[in-house]
Amino acid sequence: MLATTLVKIYKKRRIDFLLTVAGLAVVLSILFIALLAPYIAPYDPYVSVDEALLPPSPKHIMGTDNLGRDVYSRILYGSRTVIIVVLTSTLVSLVVGSTLGLISGYFGGKVDRALSIVMDSLYSFPGLILAIAVAAMLGPGILNTIVSISVVYIPTYFRMVRGQTLSVKNSLYVEAAVAMGASHKTILFQYIFPNVSVIIPVVFSMNVADAVLTEAGLSFLGLGVPAPIPDWGFDLKNGQRNLLAGYWWISTFPGIMIVLLALGFSLLGEGLNELLNPERR
């Protein structure tokens, strides 16, 4: 049954299907790498294993950095850091933002007005700069980085879920249900929740893509994951000082990984969006 639906989608909307699959493939590969990192990494990413600044060679396929660490191993372990930080923070944003949005939209009143205005203000503020402000105050550390990034995206989910909740709440069939004596719980779970769940996957994918770039940005600026934990953004910054002297591999490989992961989630999100809400021409 699933197979036939997939084939049907492939026939009718080939491009969008391929985009989604491509995005999914990239994401899954990187997740895979993250899972298997300890088994496939040739070296320990924390210690110096050779001379510094060695170019890519069969021994070190992505070369070594300024401290003699194997870049390839740091990339592999870095994927774990990035995935954990990014997925945790977006999930936190999802849960907190959606819950607040649901409550705010459903119950309305003063709470709704107050929350909305706060969330709107946060939403309009530049994301990375907000993360910088929070991270600067909290100090370094993985947990603090997760908090900083979560704060940035809570308003996104809040607004989306609140909007959906409001439109469903005001629709005629819910009014009918209320008139027939449906309880709050019923309305929330049977009517509002299914409607909201449909748009969450798309927003989540796009959101993770953005979060990857925010996390990389924070680490690049020195406010994210602290040394010596392997992290792509941090390593990119680390390689910057030697870049112009020609040691391109220290920054380029982490940078490409950041772009790939963000791209993967973006394609996935875009593809899903086209499939779920097709555009007319």
Partner: protein, 336 residues
């Protein structure tokens, strides 16, 4: 046009609570979060006396609500605090020293992104098939490009291998530019400084392209979906039925209508622009507000950091107000 004045005034009045909320949120983030700024500044080895003295200086020994009142009152007086490091210079003045650099970078990056975004967005909506898909993928890739990576690659190619363009700073140290506005390109033109003009443009190219290309990713998608929506509307068919030429329909009618949703998003785009500027400035050692902010964070110049964040908040609100006004100018349905 009386209704336009009414609209602007009512919009201004509406934005005041928004700015207040934003300032309050900033205050909450900067004061209520865990982490003692005083200890961060003086370190663990300072004596009780020193710590107390600093606390008093910063006003941190007062109750929270008193601090909040001081904070808001200060901002209303345009007093954003004083630097804790550089001889108690007013923060606002220091920000204004750096602001023109960010402004110049932002404007040129904006121009690049709009240019790319409009051309690819329109082309993508009008032509179907392979061109459309290619352009859509291009815009997704563009937005996923990590700014420091793109910047560094451009530096490597154009600065190191080809040696065509400079990689850091705003102008050559060998050239003097007399500043009037702080925008080097404009100032060079105003003072008829040809060498200044050349150098300021050369230094502007790589950072603007970096930021502009990444931003264009967002614009392309926006313009495309907006154009697709407008082109499917009935009045386009009616225009065609009246024999109005295709090009005119596209540029005069479709684009103008498509621009409205794009414009309403411009406020948010500006926020993305500011955020991207921080990364761009850091990558290219561009002496703007972004590098200023990072520098002061490193020095733990707590008051300056707070003042800079407040400045960002007010800047964003202001631009949002301007965007709404422009929107009202374009869409008559709002005014009448």
């Amino acid at each position: 046009m009386a209704s336009l004045k009414v609209y602007i005034i009512s919009r201004l009045i509406l934005s005041i609570p928004m700015i207040f909320i934003l300032l309050t949120v900033v205050f909450v983030i900067l004061r209520i979060l865990p982490g003692d700024p005083v200890l961060a500044i003086v370190g663990m080895k300072a004596s009780e006396e020193q710590i107390e003295k600093l606390r008093e200086q910063l006003g941190l020994n007062k109750p929270l609500w008193a601090q909040y009142v001081d904070y808001v009152a200060g901002i209303l007086r345009l007093d954003f605090g004083r630097s804790m490091i550089w001889g108690r210079r007013p923060v606002l003045r220091e920000i204004m020293d750096r602001f023109p650099a960010t402004l110049e970078l932002s404007i040129s990056a904006f121009i690049v992104s709009v240019f790319i975004g409009l051309t690819t967005g329109i082309a993508s909506s009008v032509k179907s098939g392979k061109v459309d898909v290619a352009l859509r993928i291009f815009s997704i890739v563009a937005y996923s490009l990590f700014i420091p990576l793109l910047g560094m690659l451009l530096q490597l190619i154009f600065g190191v291998y080809l040696r065509w363009l400079p990689v850091a700073g705003r102008k050559s140290p060998l050239v003097d530019i007399q500043t009037i506005t702080g925008l080097y390109v404009l100032d060079s033109i105003l003072t008829l400084n040809f060498r200044g003009l050349v150098t300021s443009i050369r230094y502007l190219i790589l950072p603007s392209i970096t930021l502009g290309v990444v931003l264009s990713g967002v614009y392309t998608r926006l313009v495309r979906s907006s154009m697709l929506d407008v082109l499917s509307r009935d009045f386009i068919r009616a225009l065609k039925a009246r024999g109005i030429p295709e090009a005119k329909i596209l540029l005069k009618h479709a684009l103008k209508n498509a621009f409205i949703p794009v414009l309403t998003m411009m406020g948010l785009q500006f926020a993305i622009l500011l955020a991207g500027a921080v990364l761009t400035e850091t990558t290219f050692s561009w002496p703007g507000m972004g590098t200023f902010l990072m520098e002061r964070i490193e020095y733990r110049d707590y008051t300056t950091v707070q003042g800079t964040i407040v400045f960002y908040a007010i800047l964003v609100s202001f631009v949002s107000l301007v965007v709404d006004t422009v929107y009202a100018l374009i869409d008559p349905r709002i005014r009448y």
